[in-house]
Structures are given as C-alpha cells and as structure tokens.
Subunit: 114 residues, 2 copies
C-alpha cells in the first residue's frame, strides 16, 4: 500500500515526518549522529536492515539535504554519508525519543527490574 504523502500539509510536524518519518529512518540517523557510523556497509550491519531499504532511506535524506554522499573507495566503489547541519540539529529529536522510551516502554521496565 502506498502511504499518503504529508508534503502538502502546512504543519511543521508533518513536514518533518515527510523527511524523517519513514520506518527505519530515525534509527539510521541514530547510527550516523550518535554512533558516528557513516559508511553504508557499517550502517547496514549495525541495523540489520535490508540493503535496498537502507539505500532508499539514505537517498531520501540526501535529497532533503541531511546527508552528503561521498565515495571513499573506488574499487570496489563504496560510499559514506556525512551529516550536514540539518541532520546534526535532529539530535535533540533523537534525545527526546530516547527519553520517552526510557520512561514509558515496557522493555525499559523489564531491563531496570532484571
């Protein structure tokens, strides 16, 4: 099923979700911004994400200016994805998502009681 685009909505939350709201994308930004993994192969391995899905999500972030694609070897050709200022400014969103998860998700309770 094709999901509905939020691009025509004026709400800034909707606009943000249009860029970063797809499944996997916030975790991908976690890898780049918090764990400082910028290479396709290391992000793919860290997340256990299908390479085609990862390529799709990275392309979306490049097209919206959050990441800059850069080739770091030629043979074989390999790419890394360097965060720009707009991606780095997404860090407070990740921090809030983490704060909420630590406070309210069941697995947090299980972990803290074990």
């Amino acid at each position: 099923m094709k999901r509905k685009s939020f691009s025509e909505m004026e709400c800034p939350i909707a606009q943000t979700l249009e860029v970063v709201g797809e499944w996997w994308t916030p975790l991908l930004l976690r890898e780049v911004l918090i764990h400082e993994r910028t290479k396709f192969d290391e992000i793919q391995k860290a997340l256990g994400i299908a390479p085609t899905v990862l390529a799709n999500r990275l392309n979306t972030l490049v097209s919206h200016g959050l990441l800059e694609r850069s080739r770091y070897t030629n043979n074989p050709e390999r790419f890394e994805y360097v965060p720009t200022a707009s991606a780095r400014d997404f860090r407070p969103v990740l921090d809030e998502l983490a704060r909420w998860g630590r406070k309210w998700t069941k697995s947090s309770e299980e972990r803290s009681s074990s």
Copy 2:
C-alpha cells in the same frame, strides 16, 4: 511488505518507534494532544486518514497505554480516545519535531518568504 519490528532492540529510541513510529501516528498524537481532538470521527476528518488505518493506529496506542478508549454515545456507538500520562509526556517530542520542521523544511522557507 511487512515491516521489521524493533521490539527486540534494546535501544530506547527503537522502543519508542515501535509504539509511535508508524506513518500517521505522530500526527494522530498531535490531534489528541495539541488540538484536543479525542473523538474518532473528528480525528479522522481533521487528518483525512482512511478509517481503517486510523483504527489500526489508535488500537496500537491503546494497547501500549497511551490512549484510553471510551464510548461517548450508544446509538450509534461512538468512541473517543483520552490521552494518558505517557501520551501527554510525548508532547516534548512533538515540539522538537515541529521546531526542526520550522527550521529546516523547504515549505517553511516558502511560507516565510511569501
């Protein structure tokens, strides 16, 4: 395509996304928390979302304890969804998403220059 669950990941960001990371869900929480729309019909109309998708997202939030389902009329049977403390504590995440959108999305630029 079935999306991969993040429920087995220990990361609190992943745990949060497992609850609120589906397409539409943050906008649904925006309606409930910011616009104070709690009735199914008014949320559905405000978002222009398919009723089946809205019902699915609401059920997910109820099952994770963010919303409490309450019948407000019997004939016809109609329900509203009242936010709990954990949903109200999601407001800072919405505020960060809005802040980022106002600062970095193209439509914000277009709006501010028009």
